[in-house]
């Protein structure tokens, strides 16, 4: 595929060789002929001695064209330009064995301790904006169910299906506000401590709004919990986070955080992180400044989820909504923010995705590196593994999420209607065959769309955010070749302006 940068430099991206190259305008001219289906050898053979007009270059003499014809042939003979530039079949399927293996290698069990909260944040996913999530029902996850799930997982984690060793396995406490059922957390931590693990070491994490932090901090510190506090910034930035009676929560949260930092400064430094939601009462600059100056921390910043908004709330939601890119673009100088937040910036993530797919120098692990070295040697595209449609994770490859009602999901961000199984005090009901079937049915409904998407190899779209319960789920991220070419152009144009970002990403961005 040919594309050009904002500076009008020409590049080509070869899907098969997985390489992006700058391209001299004369070579570009030959490639345009190639992709149009013209027999370039014949075209060259029939060339007379007249100069040939070349876009954005002027004219090229026959000897000049002869040079680029030889270069074109060299590249072509080495596997470049071998695929037609259209069509991106994705025919991968999941099988039950893969899902079981994925569960045996999962990294985290996240427990929705309670589905209710002591705050009433305006933008909560269980709140007024959303219709796709269930309303809180004051449910608590039973300790028996949580133990049954952990035992079930432990059998798999201790089995030879687990590929890891001496690896951390997190038990995560999530809500609602998980500290509203502290006895559950205390008992689960004690129970996990008594279990025998072969390949993993249990650690704990918790996501809290900080209201009950001071009350329970001694326990959290003693058990070395990784602590993620939801806080949007200063008092104004945080003003959507309120108690049920509308009183701002900031003073209470701030007091508790200060108490934690004062009593346990080392723990605070090593184990405490913040997540801030950006909205119309905050900006990246505000958030960065607040956490840096108050706590010497760099928070993660999340945007409000624009999926599943009720029609009547749409206008109000988008008044509240803000996006990180826009906020960054309004900053005069964001070099400090860029330095601190580099890996978490949207631009870094987009570029990283682009480099993974288009540079030819990024490999997920040593097996992919070895296989790629063999493949390029053998030049055998048939050895390519089949990709599954969309960018959906293999279920449970990252985590297992248990709702307060005992539903089993592959992630806490997915609507509960997509649960893959259930758990109660006695049993875990997971049917791997059925789960594979469900996923494959979803994939079948989308593979045609994915097959028409030029960006399908770099897709990060989760299938569960595509309204799979509707008859015709539609992915809004599908790119045709022109759109994909514009995407490539945007990425390479950014690199032309910020060339040092390239090596910084290649050196620093891992585990993406």
């Amino acid at each position: 595929m040919l594309f050009e940068s904002q500076k009008k430099n020409k590049y080509f991206f070869d899907r098969e060789v997985k390489s992006t190259q700058w391209c001299h305008p004369v070579l570009c001219h030959l490639l345009k002929l190639h992709y149009r289906g013209v027999d370039v050898t014949r075209w060259f053979g029939e060339l007379n001695d007249e100069p040939v007009p070349i876009d954005d270059y002027g004219t090229a003499s026959k000897p000049e064209i002869a040079y680029y014809y030889q270069k074109y042939m060299l590249l072509r003979d080495n596997g470049f330009f071998s695929l037609p530039d259209t069509g991106h079949p994705v025919n991968g399927r999941l099988n039950p064995g893969q899902i079981k293996a994925s569960l045996a290698n999962t990294r985290q069990l996240t427990l929705e301790v309670v589905d209710f909260c002591n705050l009433d944040c305006a933008y909560c996913v269980y709140g007024k904006f959303y219709n796709s999530f269930r309303r809180e029902e004051k449910k608590k996850l039973s300790i028996g169910t949580a133990k049954t799930v952990l035992n079930y997982l432990l059998d798999l984690l201790n089995s030879p299906l687990n590929q890891s060793h001496q690896q951390v396995f997190y038990i995560g406490f999530y809500g609602g506000e998980p500290l509203l059922n502290f006895p559950f957390i205390r008992e689960m931590a004690a129970y996990a401590g008594r279990l025998k693990t072969v390949h993993n070491r249990f650690c704990f994490n918790i996501t809290t709004n900080g209201i009950l932090l001071e009350k329970y901090m001694d326990f959290l510190v003693e058990h070395e919990f990784d602590l993620l506090i939801s806080l949007d910034g200063n008092e104004y930035n945080n003003s959507y986070r309120v108690f049920k009676d509308g009183t701002p929560a900031y003073p209470e949260i701030s007091k508790n955080i200060n108490a934690l930092e004062t009593k346990y400064p080392r723990y605070f430094k090593e184990k405490v992180n913040f997540n801030a939601v950006i909205h119309n009462r905050s900006s990246v600059s505000d958030i960065h400044h607040y956490f840096k100056s108050q706590f010497n921390k760099v928070p993660t910043i999340s945007e409000l989820n624009p999926g599943g908004i009720g029609d009547s709330m749409r206008e109000e939601f988008f008044k509240t909504y803000a996006n990180i890119d826009n906020s960054l673009s309004q900053m005069k100088d964001y070099s400090m923010v860029e330095k601190d937040m580099f890996i978490n910036l949207p631009n870094t993530r987009s570029l990283n995705s682009f480099l993974r797919r288009c540079s030819g120098f990024v490999f997920s692990d040593y097996n992919e590196l070895k296989a790629s070295a063999n493949k390029t040697k053998e030049n055998n595209p048939s050895k390519k593994s089949l990709r599954i449609p969309t960018g959906t994770c293999v279920p449970f490859s990252r985590k297992v999420f248990i709702t307060a009602k005992g539903k089993i999901l592959p992630c806490e961000r997915i609507g509960h209607q997509y649960s893959l199984g259930t758990a109660d005090e006695k049993n875990v009901n997971l049917d791997f065959e059925k789960i594979a079937g469900t996923y494959n049915t979803y994939f079948d409904r989308l593979k045609k769309q994915c097959g028409s998407c030029a960006n399908s190899e770099a897709c990060s779209q989760c299938i569960f955010f595509l309204d799979m319960d509707k008859p015709h789920p539609q992915c809004s991220g599908i790119l045709d070749d022109d759109e994909f070419s514009r995407l490539l152009s945007a990425r390479i144009s950014y690199l032309e302006k910020n060339p040092q970002t390239y090596l910084k990403i290649m050196k620093e961005v891992k585990f993406a």
């Binding site: 940068s5 500076k7 009008k8 430099n9 590049y11 390489s19 992006t20 190259q21 700058w22 001299h24 305008p25 954005d56 002027g58 040079y67 030889q70 060299l74 590249l75 003979d77 290698n105 990294r107 089995s159 030879p160 299906l161 590929q163 890891s164 060793h165 001496q166 690896q167 951390v168 997190y170 480099l355 288009c358 540079s359 030819g360 120098f361 990024v362 490999f363 997920s364 692990d365 040593y366 097996n367 590196l369 070895k370 070295a373 390029t376 040697k377 390479i492 690199l495 032309e496 060339p499 040092q500 390239y502 090596l503 910084k504 290649m506 050196k507 961005v509 891992k510 585990f511 993406a512």
Partner: protein
């Protein structure tokens, strides 16, 4: 000659492998195998270092004046003519182009994990997926009277039977079974069974049953000396029934009568064995070729064996030079892979008949079959990386050589020869670019 004030963009192609050593430069085009060298040439080395600066990304501005330097002029001309780089008048572009320059990024890079310890990811993360090959020396018992040097050291150079030096006669079958039961989560592709004389293994039938387990659906190779085939018809039939592969080790000189008996047995019971000829000199090559021709052998391999006295033979046949590298034509991905792992050894483990487990039999053991879990063993090698990640980049004198990226990965011959660079290639100190 371009006007002095005219400006050009000089752009290096990003499929090119470039190595700088002091003031010397070597450029290699994997697409056509072309190697260009610029020894002790400061203008070229400076230009190449400029090209590799993070802000330049393989594209720099050159003036007509700079291009009038004879070294730069020659370099640019040769880069163009060998399709490694290009020159375009700046006036015909609207800005500086770039190339995504070759820089290996393995997302689960062990060195990065060890250095930065990024929270939840550890050296042991999904490590078992890397285990692809296991060689098990089930016993050391053998009644053959092979040359002591051959029996004692050939197995350190390539897969070959040995009586070894351990006291243990054979491995405990339960330990083997337990070992193999720990493998379902791996990417295991091959199990090699070796001895001693494998047919003397006391738990042979049990071993065959274990290896026939459907959960172990991988390639399985049995290695035996050709002289140990005699009177083993029943066991050969078992191997055939189990769809195992047989590798016949053949050192020279052969014993003609027994060789012919072996061939008869193989013809009757194993129509498709692979012959592993052990070559210590020119005469062995001639003898192997004669056998190959006379018996119409179509599956065989010749393995040079360093016996301590045939260095000259190795220099003639095994040592490599620039022409060999040009012919081998490694791809850029191969070159990048070799900087990070040793593709010959990565993912392979060997269990000796005394139970010791090695990532490479020339390197200290990682553990013991009876005492250690395979997880502990793999973790240790992933962490220390002495064999699986042993690359020329890390060893003397190769790390100083501009050709280290093109050379084949370190093999066991380097250990046998006591020389890391079995080559005839000019070397110089390297400065990383």
């Amino acid at each position: 000659m371009p006007e002095e004030s005219r400006r050009f963009w000089f752009v290096l192609d990003n499929y090119v492998h470039v190595s700088v050593a002091g003031k010397s430069v070597m450029c290699y085009n994997p697409l056509n195998g072309m190697i260009l060298e610029y020894p002790d040439c400061e203008p070229v080395s400076k230009l190449v270092k400029r090209l590799h600066r993070p802000k330049n990304l393989l594209a720099v501005s050159l003036t007509g004046k700079e291009l009038s330097n004879p070294d730069i002029s020659r370099f640019v001309r040769e880069m163009r003519s060998s399709f490694m780089g290009d020159l375009i008048p700046a006036s015909r572009t609207r800005g500086k182009p770039l190339q995504m320059m070759p820089y290996l990024n393995v997302q689960q890079d062990i060195e990065y994990i060890k250095k930065k310890s990024p929270g939840t990811v550890t050296v042991g993360e999904q490590m078992m997926k890397y285990l692809v090959e296991i060689s098990i020396y089930i016993n050391s018992a053998c009644t053959l009277d092979c040359d002591r040097r051959l029996c004692g050291s050939a197995y350190r150079q390539f897969l070959c039977c040995t009586r070894g030096s351990g006291h243990r006669k054979e491995l405990d079958i339960l330990s083997i079974e337990h070992f193999l039961q720990q493998l379902p989560g791996t990417s295991l592709a091959r199990v090699n069974i070796l001895g001693g004389d494998i047919f003397k293994f006391s738990q042979w039938d049990r071993l065959i049953t274990i290896l026939n387990e459907p959960t172990l659906s991988v390639e399985k190779n049995f290695y035996t000396h050709y002289l140990n085939l005699l009177h083993q018809e029943k066991k050969l039939a078992q191997l055939k029934a189990g769809s195992f592969s047989l590798k016949i080790v053949v050192p020279f000189p052969i014993k003609k009568q027994q060789w012919e008996q072996s061939i008869d047995i193989l013809t009757a019971y194993r129509p498709d064995p692979r012959f592993v000829f052990i070559i210590a000199g020119e005469s062995d090559i001639a003898e192997a070729e004669e056998l190959i021709s006379q018996y119409s052998l179509d599956q065989y391999s010749l393995h040079p064996f360093f016996n301590g006295e045939n260095r000259e033979f190795f220099q003639d046949t095994v040592f490599f030079d620039k022409e060999d590298l040009r012919e081998a034509k490694p791809t850029l991905t191969e070159i990048l892979a070799r900087q990070s792992i040793n593709p010959f050894h990565f993912g392979a483990l060997t269990v000796l008949s005394n139970g010791h487990i090695h990532a490479n039999v020339n390197v200290s053991r990682l553990g013991n079959l009876e005492k250690d879990s395979i997880y502990d063993v793999v973790y240790k090698e992933m962490d220390r990386g002495i064999s699986w990640r042993r690359t020329r980049k890390k060893i003397e004198p190769c790390r100083h050589c501009t050709f280290k990226g093109l050379c084949p990965p370190l093999s066991n011959y380097e250990y046998a020869l006591g020389q890391n660079n079995p080559c005839n290639i000019w070397k110089t100190r390297e400065i990383e670019i």
